[in-house]
């Protein structure tokens, strides 16, 4: 039963065919069996989960406020604050951090009766594209244990792919939900900036970070998004717009929807097999009634450079709070305040985090601010304008999610720039604040390939409808990794 989706399990639960307790125990048995190979989790909370499952079963029995999430076991990325449960961001600097409060999203999931299995591994502070930057341990791709699961939400994507969780949450600053979803063959959505409250999400780059669902199919993605979305007084960047019922977008019909493919993302640097698989997916969408249009986004090639100035600049400021005073690690070598700061941060942060703090501090420092940071913000405007122009001609945009399939562990670890360039297709979407999904659309070298569908701001419904239609007419999402 652990292989099923949340919408399938929901009907089994409410018809009393299974209990949440049985389901939760089945998922923990699955974790027991495969976690040694995958290593998707950094913390498991079995005791709490059993209590939540028992409470969910009571709720179902008494028909008392049952939601589609009631009794469903799910995993939370480790950068979401969970009250009294370790929240490390996979960093040594937060190795013993027990938050005093729940992130808004965690609070909503608990209130809806969700069963929290534990916290998933990630690149330290969400900085990376492979989960190799975790300060705790790497995670392995369930499709090939020698390959990376992608990142930074690699633990969440791997857990869902390996059936170690029915659903999972992720966060996406430059592709951190969509890229691991593509590498692991699951569905991951980054909603519009402001659609989901970030309160209690440990900040990386505040103008780009967004929370979203990672699931086994598109229906579950809509199901979980219903519980994540919405305004929150505690996050002044969350938008006060009505939240539609996203499950109503699950309609198998894309007749006359205008879909543009981004010409620049079918050029050099994109693997030949990925291009072929993408073209077949595009043809499928056309057969299903969509109107395919070629779109040019001339500033796409500048996005990675702009992002790797903006995101580190924001990160260097956000991560200043880890100073050994209020929470987390403090060095033993602290004879004076400055030494305490320097040593605490030297001991607590990993290499990629240090690199980005340095890069961001440099880009913001006197003499370089205009040439780097301000220049990048202006290029961000140009990229946003490219999208505005494109959406004058079409309703959705599509592209491959990644230039290649999952790479081997260690392959890009020594070359930061090569790692950064693997985010070429996802980064521009964050710069423009738009929603986008990754869905399975084929296999290359026995590894999953993702299709990215990008929408206008707050057009998650259009994205879900197109993704659902594609999924209903293909079988890619039904394949399971050979983990046994």
């Amino acid at each position: 039963m652990f292989t099923k989706t949340a919408h399938e399990l929901h009907s089994l639960l409410i018809n009393r065919k299974i209990s949440s307790m049985e389901l939760t125990e089945a998922v923990f048995a699955r974790i027991e069996k495969v976690e040694d190979k995958v290593r998707a989790f950094v913390t498991l909370t079995k005791e709490e989960a059993i209590k939540q499952a028992r409470a969910a079963d009571e709720r179902i029995k008494n028909k008392d406020g049952v939601t589609p999430l009631t009794g469903i076991p799910l995993a939370i990325k480790d950068n979401f604050c969970t009250r009294g449960i370790l929240t490390t961001c996979s960093s040594k600097i937060l190795a013993n951090h027990l938050p005093a409060y729940d992130a808004t999203v965690v609070h909503k999931i608990k209130a809806a009766g969700g069963v929290i299995l534990g916290k998933t591994n990630m690149d330290e502070f969400a900085m990376g594209s492979s989960t190799e930057n975790s300060g705790l341990h790497p995670t392995h791709n369930p499709w090939d244990l020698k390959s990376v699961p992608g990142g930074s939400s690699g633990g969440s994507a791997a857990a869902v792919a390996a059936d170690e969780a029915v659903l999972a949450t992720g966060s996406d600053t430059g592709g951190s939900i969509r890229q691991p979803a593509a590498f692991c063959g699951v569905v991951g959505m980054k909603p519009t900036y402001g659609r989901v409250s970030r309160y209690g999400l440990v900040a990386f780059a505040s103008s780009l970070d967004q929370i979203g669902p990672i699931t086994k199919d598109v229906s579950d993605n809509a199901l979980l998004l219903n519980f994540l979305a919405g305004h929150d007084d505690k996050d002044s960047t969350s938008v006060d717009l009505p939240v539609p019922d996203y499950q109503k977008s699950l309609v198998d019909n894309i007749k006359n929807v205008r879909i543009g493919f981004i010409q620049e993302l079918l050029g050099k640097g994109i693997d030949a097999e990925i291009k072929e698989i993408f073209k077949s997916a595009m043809k499928k969408l056309e057969e299903l009634g969509a109107k395919i249009i070629e779109i040019s986004m001339p500033n796409y090639e500048y996005a990675v450079a702009a992002y790797y100035l903006i995101a580190p600049a924001e990160a260097s400021s956000n991560l200043a709070r880890f100073d050994g005073v209020k929470y987390g690690h403090r060095t033993r070598e602290a004879k004076d305040l400055l030494t305490m700061y320097n040593n605490t941060r030297a001991e607590g942060f990993g290499n990629e985090v240090k690199r980005r703090i340095m890069l961001g501090t440099y880009a913001l420092s006197a003499g370089y601010y205009d040439a780097y940071y301000l220049k990048a913000l202006k290029v961000r405007t140009l990229i946003k304008q490219d999208f505005e122009k494109a959406f004058g001609q079409c309703d959705l945009l599509i592209s491959p999610v990644t230039p290649s399939v999952a790479f081997k562990l260690g392959e890009k670890a020594a070359d930061p720039l090569a790692m950064y360039l693997s985010d070429i297709a996802t980064i521009p979407v964050n710069l423009a604040g738009l929603p986008a999904i990754s869905i399975p659309c084929g296999f290359s070298k026995n590894l999953p390939v993702g299709l990215q569908i990008i929408g206008k701001a707050f057009a998650e419904e259009t994205i879900l409808r197109a993704a659902y239609t594609f999924e209903q007419n293909t079988d890619w999402h039904k394949r399971k990794p050979p983990l046994e």
Partner: protein, 95 residues
């Protein structure tokens, strides 16, 4: 344009980040590679382009200045590496 070891030391000081000699050398090399790549932005004429710091238009949000429940002091201090009498304790600052 490269970044020298001396510049690395200056930036590390601003960032309150201790780096050993090896890290300084490596950082100079890696940051130079990334900044060289970022130079492609110079190809774009952005003289009349306004900067975007937030993708979605934002405005200040205000609320009534009234007291609301907040977290317990003890609970917050539980995460502090060092504390005394409801305060964070740090190395001596003033002689």
């Amino acid at each position: 344009m490269g970044i020298s070891k001396k510049e690395v030391e200056h930036v590390a000081r601003l960032a309150r980040l201790g780096l050993n000699e090896n890290e300084k050398e490596l950082m100079a090399k890696q940051l130079s590679t990334i900044l060289d790549y970022a130079d492609i932005l110079k190809k774009l004429d952005t003289q009349n382009v306004p900067p975007t710091s937030h993708a979605i238009p934002m405005k200040n949000i205000f609320r009534e200045d009234k007291t609301e429940p907040c977290l317990e002091v003890e609970e917050i201090l539980n995460n502090a590496p060092d504390q005394e009498e409801h305060m964070f304790r740090v190395p001596k600052i003033i002689e």
